[in-house]
Symmetry: C2
Subunit: 196 residues, 2 copies
DNA sequence: AGGCCAAACGGACCGCGGTCCGCTTCTATT
DNA sequence: AATAGAAGCGGACCGCGGTCCGTTTGGCCT
């Protein structure tokens, strides 16, 4: 009688060929994104580049958004690690206010450079929510550490919202604002919110 | 020799059948949106409902986003009129601060009810920019009237950003916040920003 | 009225995201 | 090593957004 003695390994185990294909697909996707733009990458192309059938791509990643989210997840995870445990001023060691400002600057840059990929990843399931959630949690923590009074979750959202890709693209692309100005504006916003 | 004596009528004139078809298409789209959801409306269905060919739909509205933007435009225009010239507290007659708060509440409600349509309209050309631009202009004007010091365009963006559909859907759908709380949070944000 | 031609029309056609189902392959068990 | 069956695989297939081009129509000029 098989008792499934995998410890707390929740997922029902992944077959070796499946794992190999997942890696191949992620690598293929990354390669194609680098070669053409994000928008130019088709699912058929990814499947072909990885040397698998199209069905396999969708089995692994659900949808195009899911695949993009998985690709995005790599750099995102790395960035999250830097925010939690990296060197100051982003990581611990600096004053909370300083960390918050560094966090915003970093996120702003990241959202501009990865904008296309973030858009392509869309709102695909838990992955994208995790990304949003991480930032929200971190900003909430920093606001609390600073000693801000009020509805912290909402204030955190208010600070993160102007850094959303849609907003930034509007400002940079359509209104021709330069990044320094946007950054300065965000710093100003933070100061006003914190001052209460 | 035809001198084209249309005054400042910039558009090169629209043929009567074209005008008829445009109206028919908008009406058909509206009808289908009411019947099914926005997401369930296909371009073929709109064409068929209006009794025209598919090519005609794309000739008139460029893309699905364009068509949705045109449908959205009707209610949006009406709302803009209310903001500029309607009764207080939204329209003129109330104090600027009161108007700003009313503006935010109204926009929040509107973005939630028309969320699907706004998303479907996407960033389709000048139409959507006009909508964004109107709100931005109005908020800038009110901030100036209140006497706020600083980079007004950026502050206006910072206030509008948390009212974006993406943000609101995240809060309401995923985080289960209720609307009163979000509204109160926005009021608080405005107060902090205005207080400087 | 008649005729000219730019503008508008319609629907066949294409590429892409996504699904489905019959076939193959891996792994656990004896 | 043999085997059973679950998990994975692949590619034909579908619907939708969007394009293209041969045909029709409406407006103007004689």
């Amino acid at each position: 009688m098989p008792i499934e003695l995998r410890l707390a390994d929740q997922q029902p185990l992944e077959r070796s060929d499946a794992a190999r294909n997942r890696e191949a697909l992620l690598a293929a996707a990354q390669r194609l994104i680098d070669r053409c733009s994000v928008e130019g990458v088709t699912m058929d192309a990814v499947a072909h580049e990885a040397g698998v059938g199209k069905g396999t791509v969708f089995r692994r990643f659900e949808s195009r958004e899911g695949l993009m989210a998985a690709v995005l997840n790599r750099s995102e995870t790395e960035w999250q690690a830097a925010a939690i445990g990296g060197p100051p001023p982003l990581g611990p060691g600096a004053e909370p206010m300083e960390r918050l400002l560094a966090f915003g600057h970093s996120r702003l840059r990241l959202n501009l450079t990865h904008g296309a990929l973030i858009n392509a990843a869309g709102h695909a399931g838990a992955r994208s929510y995790a990304a949003v959630s991480f930032s929200a949690m971190h900003v909430r923590y920093l606001l609390t550490a600073i000693g801000v009074q009020g509805d912290i979750p909402l204030l955190a959202t208010a600070l993160m919202a102007p850094l959303e890709v849609v907003i930034l693209e509007q400002q940079v692309r359509t209104e021709q604002m330069d990044i320094e100005r946007i950054q300065a504006g965000w710093d100003d916003l933070v100061r006003r919110v914190v001052a209460g």
